[in-house]
C-alpha cells in the first residue's frame, strides 16, 4: 500500500453548547508524490481536515491511516513521534521560535529526533536553507527577516527530518504575490524534485488550479461527486 493517507468517514464534531460539525464523512486516499489542493469557502473545514490528517486533532468518528498505520488507538506520545518523523507542517504564519536563528529553528526537529550527529544536523540545516535561497540568512533571527524569508525558513524546518508528507495551511496566505509565487514554486519543487507529497489548504483558486489534484470542501463535506478532481498524473 503506497497511500500516505487513507481516511474512512472521517468526522470531527466540536462539542460546545451547540455541537459544531467541522468535518463530516470524509473518505479519501492520498498517495506518494501527490500535489493536492484543499479548497473551499472559509469555514468549510479545510484547516480542520488538515489538522486531522496531521494528527494535531483527533476525529470524533471514522478512521485514519497515516503511512499505513491506524492512528485511532495511539497515545499522544506516539502521535507526536509520527508528526516528528513523517509529517512536516507549514502554517500561514511562520511560527518560528523567536529566540533562535534560522539555522537553529531548522535544527530543532532534527535534535528532537536525534538521528544525526550535531555537525551533520548543522550541515543539513544549512543545506536546506541554502536550497531555498536563504544562504545569507542562516544566522538571522526571525525578527531580522522578511515575511517571505521566514516562510521559507518554515518550509525548511518542515523538511528537517525528511518527512514524506508536507501539510501546508494557507502557506501563502500572509504573503504578497511575489513571495507567494516563490513559496508555491518551492512547494511544487518538493513534489517534482524531492518526491514529497504536499497537501496545501488554499483559498487561491488560481494556485489550486496549478496543482495536480483538488479537494473541494463545502460545509465540512467533500463536494458532491468531486467534480474538480482530476485523475492522478501517473
Amino acid at each position: 500500500m503506497s497511500n500516505l493517507i487513507e481516511t474512512r468517514n472521517l468526522t470531527r464534531i466540536l462539542h460546545e453548547t451547540v455541537p459544531v460539525t467541522l468535518v463530516k464523512d470524509i473518505t479519501l486516499a492520498i498517495g506518494e508524490r501527490e500535489f493536492v489542493a484543499v479548497t473551499g469557502p472559509s469555514g468549510s473545514g479545510k484547516s480542520s481536515l488538515l489538522y486531522l490528517l496531521g494528527l494535531l486533532d483527533r476525529p470524533t468518528e471514522g478512521t485514519l491511516f497515516v503511512a499505513g498505520r491506524e492512528t485511532e488507538g495511539m497515545s499522544e506520545a506516539e502521535r507526536a513521534a509520527i508528526r516528528l518523523s513523517t509529517i512536516g507542517f507549514v502554517f500561514q504564519f511562520h511560527f518560528l521560535l523567536p529566540e533562535f536563528t534560522a539555522r537553529e529553528n531548522v535544527e530543532i526537529p532534527m535534535r528532537r529526533l536525534a538521528k544525526l550527529s550535531r555537525p551533520a544536523m548543522r550541515e543539513r540545516a544549512g543545506e536546506l536553507l541554502r536550497s531555498l535561497g536563504l544562504g545569507d540568512h542562516l544566522d538571522k533571527r526571525p525578527d531580522q527577516m522578511s515575511g517571505g524569508q521566514r516562510q521559507r525558513v518554515a518550509v525548511a524546518r518542515a523538511l528537517a527530518n525528511d518527512p514524506p508528507l508536507i501539510l501546508a495551511d494557507e502557506p501563502t496566505g500572509s504573503l504578497d504575490s511575489r513571495n507567494s509565487e516563490q513559496v508555491f514554486t518551492i512547494l511544487e519543487a518538493l513534489v517534482r524534485e524531492r518526491g514529497k507529497t504536499v497537501v496545501a489548504v488554499t483559498h487561491d483558486l488560481d494556485m489550486a488550479a496549478r496543482m495536480d489534484r483538488r479537494l473541494h470542501l463545502i460545509d465540512g463535506m467533500l463536494d458532491g461527486n468531486l467534480p474538480t478532481e482530476t485523475p492522478k498524473p501517473d
Binding site: 489538522y51 494535531l56 486533532d57 507526536a80 508528526r83 516528528l84 507542517f89 521560535l97 533562535f100 495551511d169
Partner: protein, 413 residues
C-alpha cells in the same frame, strides 16, 4: 534533553528582570533560612555545651530504681509480689573501690567519687543549709568545671590538706564570711567541725553558689560517720553522646541508679526539638512564599509562549517534553536562587559572627552570638527551595502540556 534545556534557558533569559526578581526572592529565603538555622543551631549547641560542661555526663548515686530480686522469686516458679519498691537504703555505694576500678577499666573518660551530705554551715550566729560535698581534689579536676570559676582563692587550696572548705560567693555574703574566715559545719548526724574558707567560687547558678560547700572526701566521711564511704560517682566522658550507653551498662552491672545527662535534662532537650520543628516550619514558609514568585513567572511564560508550545507540539514534541521544559525553568530559577542564597546566607552568618555584646547584668563578659557553621544548613535550605520551585514550576507546566495546538494555531490564523 539538552535541547529542552536550551529552550528553557532562552525562555527565562527572555524575561531577565522578572527572572532575577524571582530568583532573588528564593535567594533571600535561602539566605535567611541559612542564617536562622546557624543561629538556632548555634544557640542550641552552646546551650547543650554549657549543660554538658557543668554537669557530669553520667552520675551514679546510691539509689536504686527497682527493688532487688526477692528470695521468694528464687524459691518458687510462680510468684506475684505487689507494691514492691526499693528500700530506701542510703548507706552509700557498697564496695566503692571495686566499683571504681571496674568502671575505670572500661569507661572512656574520667571519673570521680564523692560523698554528698546535708549539713548546716554556721558563722557568727548565722546558719545556712548546704550540701557538703566531699571530693578528692586531684580527680575532681577531671570531672568538674568548677576549677575555672573561682573568684578568690583556688580549687587547689583543697588539695593542700587540712580543714579547708570552698564555698560559693553568695553563701559567703549571706554568712558575712570572707576568705580566710573559719566556719563551722554541722552534719545531719550532729557532728561539728571547723573549716577555714580557702576559696570562693561563682558558677553563675544561684542554687550552687548559695548551697554547695566542697571539702576533702575524708572530712565528709568523718562528718557523716561513714569512713571510706562514697555515695556518688560522677563520670565525664570523652564523648558526651555515649552517656546513655555507659549509664545503662553501669546500672546493669552495679545495680545503682546511673543517670545520663540526656535523661537528667530530658525536658530541656525536648524543648529543643520543638524549637527545631518551629524553625523548619518557618523556613518552609519563607521558601513557600519564594515559590509563589516562581509560580508567577512560569505561569506568565507559559501564557506568553503558548504559540511556541503549540508549534513545538505540532513539530512532534510530546506533551511530556512541554512539562519537562517548564518544570526545568522553575528548577533553574530555584537553583540560581539557591546559589545566590548560599552567598547571602554565608555573608549573613559571617556578619552575625562578628557581632559582640556585653551582658549588662555582670558587665564583664563579652559574648558573641553563638553561631554554628554547617554545610547541612545550606543543603537543607536548598532542598526546601528546589522542592518549592519544583512544585511552583510543575503546576503551570502541567497546564502548558495540555495546550491543544489546534486552538492556538486556529486562533493565530
Amino acid at each position: 534533553m539538552r535541547l529542552i534545556f536550551e529552550i528553557a534557558l532562552t525562555h527565562i533569559a527572555g524575561r531577565g528582570r522578572q527572572t532575577l526578581v524571582a530568583a532573588f526572592g528564593v535567594a533571600i529565603g535561602v539566605g535567611f533560612s541559612i542564617a536562622m538555622a546557624a543561629l538556632m543551631q548555634g544557640g542550641q549547641d552552646d546551650f547543650v555545651r554549657q549543660l554538658v560542661d557543668t554537669m557530669p555526663h553520667v552520675q551514679i548515686t546510691d539509689e536504686q530504681r527497682t527493688a532487688r530480686r526477692q528470695p521468694a522469686e528464687d524459691a518458687f516458679d510462680v510468684v506475684a509480689i505487689a507494691g514492691l519498691r526499693p528500700r530506701d537504703d542510703r548507706r552509700g555505694i557498697i564496695n566503692p573501690t571495686a566499683a571504681l576500678s571496674w568502671l575505670r577499666a572500661w569507661i572512656p573518660g574520667r571519673l570521680a567519687p564523692s560523698l554528698k551530705l546535708q549539713g548546716v554551715i554556721r558563722y557568727s550566729g548565722r546558719e545556712v543549709g548546704a550540701s557538703v560535698i566531699g571530693v578528692e581534689p586531684t580527680v575532681e579536676v577531671g570531672v568538674s568545671p568548677i576549677v575555672e570559676d573561682f573568684r578568690q582563692g583556688s580549687f587547689s587550696a583543697l588539695a593542700v590538706g587540712g580543714n579547708n572548705v570552698l564555698i560559693g560567693d553568695t553563701m559567703a555574703n549571706r554568712l558575712g564570711a570572707g576568705l580566710g574566715d573559719t566556719i563551722t559545719v554541722v552534719s545531719a548526724q550532729g557532728l561539728t567541725r571547723n573549716f577555714k574558707i580557702a576559696g570562693l567560687f561563682h558558677t553563675g547558678s544561684t542554687a550552687r553558689d548559695e548551697g554547695e560547700a566542697y571539702v576533702l572526701l575524708k572530712n565528709a566521711q568523718i562528718l557523716s560517720e561513714r569512713p571510706n564511704a562514697i555515695n556518688e560517682i560522677r563520670i565525664k566522658l570523652d564523648d558526651p553522646n555515649g552517656a546513655p550507653l555507659v549509664a545503662q551498662r553501669a546500672e546493669a552491672e552495679l545495680g545503682y541508679k546511673a543517670v545520663a545527662w540526656q535523661e537528667a535534662n530530658e525536658s530541656i532537650l525536648e524543648a529543643l526539638v520543638v524549637r527545631n520543628v518551629i524553625m523548619y516550619t518557618v523556613v518552609g514558609a519563607i521558601l513557600l512564599v519564594a515559590g509563589f514568585g516562581i509560580f508567577n513567572i512560569i505561569s506568565t511564560i507559559t501564557h506568553e509562549k503558548a504559540r511556541d508550545i503549540a508549534i513545538m507540539k505540532s513539530l512532534g514534541f510530546p506533551a511530556g517534553d512541554m512539562r519537562r521544559l517548564f518544570l526545568l525553568e522553575g528548577l533553574a530559577i530555584g537553583a540560581a536562587g539557591s546559589v545566590g542564597g548560599w552567598l547571602i546566607g554565608f555573608l549573613l552568618v559571617y556578619g552575625l559572627s562578628l557581632v559582640r555584646f556585653e551582658i549588662a547584668a555582670t558587665g564583664q563578659e563579652m559574648t558573641r552570638l553563638p553561631i554554628a557553621w554547617s554545610v547541612l544548613h545550606y543543603v537543607i535550605a536548598s532542598a526546601f527551595a528546589l522542592g518549592s520551585a519544583a512544585v511552583a514550576g510543575y503546576l503551570p507546566a502541567r497546564r502548558a502540556a495540555r495546550v491543544n495546538p489546534v486552538d492556538i494555531i486556529r486562533g493565530a490564523t
